[in-house]
Structure formats: C-alpha cells, structure tokens
Symmetry: C2
Subunit: 219 residues, 2 copies
Amino acid sequence: MLRLIDLQKSYRLGQTSIAILHQINLSIESNEFIALMGPSGSGKSTLLNILGILDDYDQGEYWLDGTLMKSLTETRAAQYRNRFIGFVFQSFNLLSHLTALENVALPLRYLGQSLHERTNCSKSLLTQMGLEGRFHHLPTELSGGQRQRVAIARALATRPRLILADEPTGNLDSSASREILDVFSTLHRDGATIVLVTHDEEVARRTQRTVRIRDGRVV
Amino acid sequence: MLRLIDLQKSYRLGQTSIAILHQINLSIESNEFIALMGPSGSGKSTLLNILGILDDYDQGEYWLDGTLMKSLTETRAAQYRNRFIGFVFQSFNLLSHLTALENVALPLRYLGQSLHERTNCSKSLLTQMGLEGRFHHLPTELSGGQRQRVAIARALATRPRLILADEPTGNLDSSASREILDVFSTLHRDGATIVLVTHDEEVARRTQRTVRIRDGRVV
Ligand SMILES: Nc1ncnc2c1ncn2[C@@H]1O[C@H](COP(=O)(O)OP(=O)(O)OP(=O)(O)O)[C@@H](O)[C@H]1O
Ligand SMILES: Nc1ncnc2c1ncn2[C@@H]1O[C@H](COP(=O)(O)OP(=O)(O)OP(=O)(O)O)[C@@H](O)[C@H]1O
Ligand SMILES: [Mg+2]
Ligand SMILES: [Mg+2]
C-alpha cells in the first residue's frame, strides 16, 4: 500500500542544506497498524508529512497504492489527501474561528453529505472521544487534550483508508488515550491502514508492528 | 509559599457561565516539588494559569509569598511574573520570529544582563536540553519536542523561585524527558518551588508529592 525506496529529505536553511531523512526504505501493507517511534528530532513528523503528501522529498521514491507520489501539483496532492488520507497533526492545526463540531464536519463536505448527515456524524465521533458538551466550544475554549481529540475526530470523520497520526495521545491521560486507541482499533478492524507516531511504549503495544527511526534512518 | 483558599473559577460562554474550578484548597510550601495530575479537561491548565498570575479567578483567595493575588493591574501582575515565576506553556507560546536562542534569552533582559551574558546563559541551557546545533533555528524549523524544550529553557533561564510547568514532557521520548527532569531536579535542589502538570506517572514519581484533580476539584 505504501512503499518508500531510498527516500532522502533535506531542509534548506539559509545557504546550507540540512539532511533529515537518509536512505529510508519502508514497506507498509494494506490494513497494517504500525507504530513509528524514535527520539525527539529524529525525523518522524518529517516522514509522516511526506507520507501524507503534505511535503515533497529530494531523492528516492514514494509509492502510494501503486502511484508514484513525486512533484504533484497542489491540486492533485489535495485530491489524494481528501479522498484517501486522514492526518492528525502534532500541533492539531484546528481552525480557530470554527467550533469543535464545525472543525470535525469540514472534511465531510468532500463526501457530498447533507448538513444534517455531517452534523450527526461529527457529533457521534466527538462523543466517542468523550467530548459531548464541548461541541460548540472554539479551540481557545478547549483544554490541550480536548483540542487534540478534536484534531483526531476531524482526521477520522471521512473514515479514510490511510490514517497518519502524529503523537495523538501526547496531551491525554491514560483513560482518554485508551478511548482514542479503541477508536483506532475499530477503524483498523474495518480495513484502515494506520501509521501512528508515538513516544509511548504502551501505545505502541496496541499496534501490530513498530518501526524505529534514529537520526533520520530506520534502525 | 502558595496558598489557595476556596478558589472558584468560571468561564463566560455567551450568555451562560461554566464553572471550572470548585472550592480549591491547596497549600504548597517553599521548595516543594509537586506533580499535578488529572483527566484531560479537569482544570489543570486553568489552575496553573491562576498560579502563574496569567488569569484571574472569581471567588476565594490566592496568596503568593504572603501577598494576595487578586485583581492585580497588568503592570503589577507582569512584575510578579517576571521577577518570580517561570512558566512552561502546554502549547509552548514561542515567538515565531525569534530563533531558539533569542526566545530563551528574552526573559534575561529583565535581569539586566549584558548581551554576552544572556547569550552564554541561553546556550548553556539549550545545550543541557540537548538542543545545541539548533540555536539559530526558528520555531517552524524545529520538531515538536524541540519547541517544547525551547519553551522549558525560556521558563528556566532566569532561575525563577517558582516554576510552573504545564505538561513539559508530552512531546518527548523517555531519554529527552529524563534530561528535562534532571534539570528540574537540579533547580529544585538549588531552592526552587515547582508545580509540574503531567499525565505521566513516571514523571510524577520524580516529584515529592502528587496533587490530583478531577472535574475541577482536588480529590
Ligand atoms: N524547516 C526546517 N528547517 C530545518 N530543519 C528542520 C525544519 N523542520 C524540522 N527540522 C529539523 O528536522 C529534524 C526532524 O524534525 P521532525 O519534526 O521530523 O522530528 P520528530 O521526530 O517529529 O521529533 P519530535 O518527536 O520532537 O516531534 C529536527 O532535528 C528539526 O530540527
Ligand atoms: N475559554 C473557555 N471557555 C469555556 N470553557 C473553557 C475555556 N477554557 C477552558 N475551558 C474548559 O475548562 C475545562 C478545563 O480546561 P483546562 O485547560 O484547565 O483542562 P486541563 O486539565 O488542562 O486538560 P488537558 O489535560 O487536556 O490539558 C475544559 O473542560 C475546557 O473545555
Ligand atoms: Mg514530531
Ligand atoms: Mg491542560
């Protein structure tokens, strides 16, 4: 489903170039549930952003479902992302002028659902995350862990085939983490492919396989 | 050093009022190292913001070092914060146009240090957090856990008497967490009073006492 071949990624910093990912080779089959772990700064978010077609890379190949993801136009990239991928950002990236409910409902517009269907679907998802009573709060009126859960609900609203989650339980107590992982497990059971970045070995234990990264290399 | 008596705090939400903290009674002695734990949404950040004089409260009393903290002017509040308190925000709150080094050096201006002294002090602190090689990166050029560590370094730069840290290890692997907690332990040994909000029992184990909060009440 996902294949990375000799992938390299550098960032430009003024005059110099700083290499972040080196010779990444990785294969993820359809319906796998993978944990991605590694030290802070090792390249996990950088790798996840490439998988989510949010960022390009410099060398090597990224194949998604049989198609080469390289130098896509923003339109093409957006199409793939909307139809295929649910992305949970490490810093949430909620829209500050929209309520929790509106943030979650936003991606559902691409599915052509009615307002009534979008609202019900979003309410159900937020409730599963323990957020009923917070539907109409703006992000600034939510706790850190509540914002994190809204970001997760938004990524899962379209029941995407590929879920990429960047440290989705970092701001959650163990009980809220368990609720989140139950939702992930259900979606996995229903066929989703999941790559979950985490620093928590307890969370990794709930996935099928752990890929470890250090200094931009898979170890 | 810190005393909360029957503290209450509500948020206004349109026409209604939503009570967040109820009858909070809490005493923290000078040079204590306290963990504050509780479910997501239970009121930890709200409480920490009150302790950090970043937010006012509705009923009860907050005594800081023998002075009542109630309805302070912004000037007075800022004076107390700058001279007394180091605050690590749950969402970091770094200045996006300043480098890691500049962000950490900023609070040192209040101490009247020379540019040379401020630079050396900041470099030393960032190095202790494992961030040498990232001094001149902007926040957008840092990983989530690196931003978190810059936020921590900035809070500790003035060696404040009171350190309030809101989930400072949420984005860190265990090795980086340990480095951070070593720095906290050293400052504690040198006399600081520390209140550390965390979801991690491992982190709480490194403090002297754990205060637990649930639905806005100390349990
Ligand atoms: N725009 C940029 N320019 C230069 N370097 C960058 C840029 N963005 C990230 N980096 C560097 O790339 C490295 C990898 O960053 P990345 O965000 O992928 O780490 P991570 O593994 O997700 O870390 P964390 O666990 O802290 O979230 C870091 O050392 C970071 O400083
Ligand atoms: N401006 C606001 N208006 C209304 N409600 C708010 C506002 N800010 C926070 N809240 C609510 O107050 C409660 C406590 O928030 P707080 O940020 O203190 O929680 P927390 O214990 O720090 O949670 P977390 O572990 O998720 O960070 C939450 O239920 C939140 O929805
Ligand atoms: Mg990251
Ligand atoms: Mg909080």
